[in-house]
Symmetry: C2
Subunit: 259 residues, 2 copies
Amino acid sequence: MARGQGVYVLRLKGFEEAELERFPGEVSGLAEIGKAFNAFRKAGCQQICFAGIVKRPDFKALKPDMKGMSLLPKAISAARKGDDALLSFMIKVFEDEGFEIIGADEAAGNLKAPTGLLAGPAPSDEELQDLRKAAQVALEIGRLDIGQGAIVANGLVLCVEAQEGTDEMLKRCAELPDEIRGSAEARLGVLVKRPKPQQERRIDLPTIGTRTLEGVAAAGLTGIGYEADGALIIDVDAVRDLADRLGVFLYGFPKDQGP
Amino acid sequence: MARGQGVYVLRLKGFEEAELERFPGEVSGLAEIGKAFNAFRKAGCQQICFAGIVKRPDFKALKPDMKGMSLLPKAISAARKGDDALLSFMIKVFEDEGFEIIGADEAAGNLKAPTGLLAGPAPSDEELQDLRKAAQVALEIGRLDIGQGAIVANGLVLCVEAQEGTDEMLKRCAELPDEIRGSAEARLGVLVKRPKPQQERRIDLPTIGTRTLEGVAAAGLTGIGYEADGALIIDVDAVRDLADRLGVFLYGFPKDQGP
């Protein structure tokens, strides 16, 4: 790893990614928490980074080990409060066992989003106005534990992200009536991604990658706004190149001031 | 008409529906307000009901008459504040000319949604819990002038409606991962539709029809909640029959108490 430490990858059953098989590690069921703790200790792990996408499981279908069995009722009751409560609960479980949880930005070479213009053309006043409104909507949506993204064009909220994810939201945006959205010829509207205000920031920060940029361009939007230090830019060099090429701006606004 | 009055239908250019051609009336451009006022007066209209779907126009492409020209700047500035401000502005314009604006429930035979169970099986405690949360989310979404609907399953907000409309939201819900939503075999989750708290209630009330029910069933949801007196049931007999047949509940909660 870039930081010179060894890596041990515990892959979760049902969510394994083939490219991770080249790292030392093993596969564990989602509720085999005792097995996971033992595996990490045996490998000498002290820091743990949660990464990748894990869909909310069907709790009734899980096969917990002893440790998992003792934690499952609390996990289910946390899950009823929302994704965020479930993640915070899982972090607590690992911390109680003495592990340190670190963010994906600390563990890998991804860029934690900086303030100001990162790539593409500088946003106009109108575009900044849409960015500000989308940032406000995303904040409210986050406070309600609904999601981390929103799209605003000309002051109108086109889409709000919930469980479908950003790529799906962008596809839907591209299918809205022509009259209310932009196009390749006349770009209009801004996507904003930001964390939920109450969320655990070491896991599940919103991410921006080349696929996000392609979706934004296909939906006729002008750019992407994100909270500085509150989003991860995946493969930042490729993202910057593509943003310049597509003419899509990437703009980080400070968390406290708002954009 | 059921109330024994004559009907005059002004059809808006670009949004004409063929089945309305059998009524007396004519076609008018969206910004030909002077022409519309004259037509209504000549036909002896005193009450006006706004009905049907009008997409937000491209203001730059409108062809206003003299009256339209004088109103357009204010309409555009209202539109920037959101759909609701634009609709309220349009109502004010008609009222200032001496017309009375009446709701679609007053004008036609549709049912303004009643309190309590209208059709289908009575919701369980868990289903009422999802209904309550969806009602709360829809209220917040409405307050932000985003939309009038939300879907919650097992405490998780699956979808929030913005510009895409309810049918699109239901389609998206049906495509979410199996783990977080219901199915035909094991129904889960509730759609709630309610007006924005600050909105003009004589136009643009949320509607529920047979297509809504079909979408709800296809998405594996258990039922539909709506604010009593805050939604229109279109073709209520057909809706009630279909709800019973599909086993989908229709439940009206009082506006002030919440569900």
